[in-house]
């Protein structure tokens, strides 16, 4: 009788260990997103999906890399100690969410201005407001350190976002492996 009991206990212990291993393997209710594009339309889509995902009960992590990096610059902040290339990129790339352009029909800025007007008319939140909302909802933002370095951006010129950190590809992959949904925008 006691040997039977011991056997059952052992089986339960084994099952518990297997269950724990399975739990570790199964991804969390999380959305990991790479935001690569610096276009207004794509960035807007990224933030609509991100805030919607929080509403659906998901944890959301966004990785900003390459052309998307300047979206997170703060136009009010100035950094002086930049080298020539850094200054050039700093001038040529958009300074924050307010100055990014549409991927199509920009028409020298006219198309973007028209779209922004239309969005206001239709009560659609601006990219600026969407970033603020994402912050309030607890969306985690990581910025690619390599892009920052390449384009000569300094941490001091980025927006004041509640949970923003800087990282490399391993951090993205760790999060992506633990996410049910992954997107590249």
């Amino acid at each position: 009788m006691s040997t039977e009991l011991a056997q059952i206990e052992q089986q339960i212990a084994e099952m518990k260990a297997q269950l724990e291993a399975l739990q570790k393997k199964s991804p969390s209710n999380k959305l990991s997103m790479v935001v690569f594009s610096g276009d207004l339309d794509r960035a807007l889509a990224a933030f609509i999906i991100a805030t919607g995902a929080v509403a659906m009960g998901m944890e959301v992590v966004m990785f900003f890399t390459f052309w998307a990096t300047p979206i997170l610059r703060d136009p009010k902040k100035k950094v002086d100690d930049k080298d020539l290339m850094g200054k050039m990129f700093g001038t040529m790339l958009p300074k924050g969410a307010c100055s990014v352009k549409l991927s199509k029909m920009n028409m020298g800025g006219m198309g973007t201005a028209m779209m922004k007007n239309l969005m206001k008319q239709k009560n659609v939140a601006s990219l600026d407001q969407m970033i603020e909302l994402a912050g309030e909802l607890g969306v985690q933002i990581y910025v690619c350190e390599l892009s920052m370095d390449l384009m000569g951006f300094k941490r001091e010129e980025m927006i004041d976002y509640p949970s923003m950190d800087f990282c490399g590809v391993a951090k993205f992959l760790e999060e992506a492996m633990d996410s049910r949904v992954q997107l590249f925008i």
């Binding site: 509403a55 009960g57 009560n123 659609v124 939140a125």
Partner: protein, 80 residues
């Protein structure tokens, strides 16, 4: 109008486009007790598919949907 379910809280989301109705309701549902009814009033036709999708994933329940004069009234029972 008269035979509508009595809501414990009403949220006016009229004029708000995607993703705001769902974002606001996911916050608003926490302001009613479990078992109580939240009524969301929206003018976004996308809400008709979005709210059921949100309810299924969040574990809440749409108990009724009424469309009148361009306003969609969605009654949500808080289950979790």
């Amino acid at each position: 109008m008269s035979n509508a379910i009595q809501a414990d809280k009403v949220m006016d989301l009229k004029g708000l486009p995607c993703p705001m109705p769902v974002v606001k309701v996911s916050k608003g549902i926490k302001e009613v007790e479990v078992g109580q009814i939240l009524e969301a009033q929206t003018t976004d036709p996308g809400s008709l598919t979005d709210f059921p999708a949100w309810a299924r994933t969040s574990g809440n329940e749409i108990v009724d949907t009424i469309q009148e004069n361009g306003v969609i009234r969605i009654f949500i029972k808080r289950n979790v």
